[in-house]
Symmetry: D2
Subunit: 357 residues, 4 copies
């Protein structure tokens, strides 16, 4: 089931070209005001066509709330919102039924659903399905910030091997700096170089991947639990639920493999009355439980599989190897658009975690 | 709750120094023979004291089945097995109550459980709790191999930045080669160098981390689902449930961030009647669904936080910064012992996935 | 969360007066044809205004499918359908905010949701919310009948202490006989008397309750499980999720309390090759598992709490005891309209159970 | 899976004749003292051989806690307790493999588990499995009473059609009166008559059934939720998880079918500052949510299926109809022993409900 969460749960529905797509969020507290303008600004960060590096497709991603909110206030009942699908070119996809696109779900899904799955626009596997995640996640992000002072911010740490500045892991003061920018980097210079690299790839009929870094500040000590109750399990499961994610790491991440315990251990010390750690290789989580330091994690995003270049694939009908050229309009890089999606999924995890306790 | 799985579920119970630790597995098919000798050999791979690089503690990790199996055959009822705890030195731990060990769960857990948690040996956060995972996982691994021809194998890909040979991602023929070795590497030479590095760190009163690579072969096409139903979400959640894991990546993993779509995409081709991919950057999973290629993933393991070297921490009672020296007997590197744990957790995920369908 | 099911899951959303109400069903098999005409006929059985004994409110309960079905065939993605709300008279309800209606959720919900809940039409507690249950349940009922030969039928066994004929518990041949009738009884004479009693109550500004009997035939032996996995637990939880249900019993039900084991035990015997039972006091379930006999259960429905007669209640603002007269249009008896809802909930339980195995 | 609960979860394991049976409870708060003597006294109420009306089998139902409790205080880790099985006469059961006992799980389970299930003593379907429910439920009951002032009490309302006094549904002051009695009735005279009826049935080689009434007082307003989140769904699912339960009703229960709305509705009134209801036909629950009145429900218990009288059944091997005489030692009535089990299951539901909020 395309759902996540225990106490606060979100369920995603729809397919790339269905009449509507949407989400139902259950367990959200009653009596809370939702700022729909702020939510819409948040969703715009994911919307396509924002700048030359993303697909020219226009999607008016305006969520319509059909229940759970009266006069801007949550009622405690499930909150369901939909987005009307428009401007699809379904004819672009018909020929793909027998010639699966490399590194897309086409082939695996055709087998799983015995060919009954909706392939138009990637159906239920489309990146388009991250829009509903942003509805629920945007609401969760508002609540965490307003009611609990928990901030969540992400940025494009790397694209095409060009690196943005990294967050200060022990004291990331500016985690939301990328929010208002057209391109979500801390360093505008790095952002400029990244966009050049993306346009270069686009000109070559190709695409590029990258890494998103996300920080969560203001989380109290003591949330989570041992083994499979750990926060890393919860957040990682959410992140790998986002299309194109190939890796997730917390704190030191894969670098820890090269370190010694004496370097890697985060020494405790008192900062006034508060217990903090000198370093934050733990990424704010120890034994699956928050330790009061910022939660820091990174997510690897693969290059968009839809590229203009001719590619080798099979024809499932004729059972021959063939060459495929994909039409339609595609993103040469989805990292920038994925930044708010990562924030949204993180917000849903945190809210669920806090409401569970 | 320390449990994982939907259709086939495992629940872990116990604490490092409780009378017993154990697990209950529900949903396992009835009428299946369990080879207890093979299971015990599997668990020995995790047991300490196997060679100079692991802790000299002796743990007779013999699982006792108390229900669910009659005359070696599963009855369909929950399978519960326990391991009796012996040979603990609880006195080693008392002083830790007020001086949390850096990068351990001590501090976070003390806050979460208001100081009521059992700190002896790390309590519910102890690496010791991976033994019950190996009971359920060992049973699952037997079943997958015998009944379904699905093989699961892992090895120490890197320790202290020394690298073992990697699996051939499109055709890993020897994924179980490390099983019978005292040190779980493909290349004995790499294994020898790793052990030297571990002993060097031990001599320095320090520890080292590493990376484990795991492959799963023989998985049919079409298991898993879109978004949060994806296999990566399931496997990653299980992996991050294992103490000391800091990162998880599938297929190309974080390398994908540097690649272009044209390099990263896995071209489909016919190998006789079978559809395969030329490369396997997808790690056997596309759109969260198996595509018939080997599932490949890597797990980053941090250096053991328990080291002999003096470390800075706080005294929660006196509210001062203090220096801590940890007594007891500890692993300078847990990567080798974690290899079967990774296999066990992977086996539980796969069995659950297949039984769910 | 307003959801039920594990493998096939339904989630209900909406409030009596929200723009739309609806449901999302996940886990339904791909490639199955849905007969929307049949579904609509099924939903009409629940619709109000069918005859003089139900509320004159007109609700055009036409489900609109917004995803999960393409050209009448399920795609394997979540199936979401909505019903547009029309013809509400919200003004009827405003005065109720401070004067909770006896035996309604008004008071309990006001406390739970701190007064933020939508009280118009009963909000999320409205009998109106059973319409989405009928969408998912109607689809499940079609599938069970067409693909598996499992039939589900219910009737009004009793209303105002007037009894319909009961099903033959060992061989109920005509369980769907009430489907096509305006009033869902086996005996038209009993139905006529029931309607007279309902109209009499209505004339008195009062309401009446009753009992619904439901039978499920064609269920194979061996579904369900011990203790909390039992089918009774699953079906009972679904039934008590339907507003106004006060009791659920299987087979002999509460009558068993008066019987001796020698009368109550269902003797096994061979009927040709098939093992059957001479009686069916077990209601087709033994030890929580189906035994191949018809599943029989009964559900007690309370008299509609909304009555025209003046009633005593409190004013939560002035903290006084007051007299309340409820306006609006209400059902003097909801038993007849609840019959298809019981069938729908039973169908969802059975489908989930079969898909789980 | 034989588990119940979301936030506080209990999982039952074991079979009637396995080495041990037991339970794991997760999510129970840390730092709480468990009174093991009180728990043992509670479990004795379920133990057999207490008086002439129950089986002479002696079971030393002493729970051994193997983890989750240190020095009598919960640690926050899963609490696992086991009961060693002794004094079984397994030989009594072998002949039953091919001749299923009427109204037992033998036949259904044999099909479900392809004959691999442990039939000794009923295996996982044995009433013996209610002992672990009493461990977790006894702990929950202590906690609810000590920490939250929530009391739970049950009694044998009817056995063999002989009725005990019923609880006052609006103000049941003495709900725990039956706790300390050898036979759990409010009226000793009724209890005496019931025991005579049981012994009479026993003398006839027969058995009798009955009804248990349970009350829960001190529950705050506002717990539960609409539709499938309702408390009735949760409690009913738990009750039907107890072997031999055939019916569950809340408040007025099946009587509501004969009533009119004007009789059935519970008028609200102020009792000082507190809102109460004049009657309690709602059983303390409206719209699935607690309304502050006592929760009242009744459970129908069938006559013990194991009787000495010869019975008709089938031989699954020879495929003939045969006559069966059951040996072994059996309860002519399990109602009295089931009373604490009902309390235990109710306590687990309530604790889960309160911890969830």
């Amino acid at each position: 089931m395309s759902s996540m969460g225990n106490k606060v749960k979100i369920e995603i529905f729809g397919e790339s070209h269905s009449a509507e797509i949407g989400m139902t969020m259950t367990g959200f507290p009653a009596g809370k005001r939702i700022d729909e303008d702020e939510l819409y600004r948040f969703m715009l960060r994911r919307a396509p066509g924002r700048n030359a590096t993303s697909t020219p497709r226009k999607e008016a991603d305006v969520p319509e709330f059909i229940c759970g909110i009266v006069d801007g206030i949550t009622t405690g009942a499930p909150i369901t919102a939909i987005i009307r699908n428009t401007n699809q070119h379904s004819k672009d996809y018909e020929k793909l039924r027998n010639t699966p696109r490399p590194s897309h779900a086409d082939f695996a899904a055709a087998v799983k659903y015995s060919g009954a799955n909706d392939i138009r626009g990637g159906g239920a596997f489309s990146g388009r399905m991250t829009a509903p995640i942003c509805i629920g996640g945007g609401i969760a992000k508002q609540f965490l910030s307003t009611e609990l002072g928990i901030k969540i911010g992400a940025h494009a740490l790397a694209i095409a091997n060009i690196y943005d500045d990294a967050f200060d892991m022990t004291n990331p003061v500016d985690i939301c700096v990328a929010e208002d920018k057209d391109f979500p980097t801390i360093s505008d210079d790095a952002g400029k170089k990244m966009q050049e690299a993306i346009l270069k790839a686009k000109a070559d009929g190709d695409s590029v991947g990258g890494i998103i870094e996300c920080a969560i500040t203001g989380v109290p000590v003591g949330y989570g639990g041992p083994l499979f109750d750990g926060i890393e399990s919860k957040i990682a499961a959410a992140m790998f639920g986002i299309p194109a994610v190939k890796g997730v790491e917390f704190g030191s991440g894969f670098e820890c493999a090269k370190m010694r315990g004496s370097e890697h251990n985060d020494a405790f010390l008192y900062e006034g009355e508060k217990v903090v750690t000198k370093t934050n290789n733990s990424g704010g989580i120890q034994g699956g439980i928050t330790n009061g330091m910022p939660i820091i994690f990174r997510v690897a995003i693969k290059p968009t599989p839809s590229i203009a270049k001719p590619q080798s694939t099979v024809n499932l009908e004729t059972k021959e190897n063939v060459t495929l050229e994909i039409g339609g309009r595609h993103d040469p890089c989805i990292v920038a658009r994925a930044v708010p999606v990562i924030e949204a999924a993180a917000a849903l995890c945190l809210l669920d975690l806090l409401e569970e306790k």
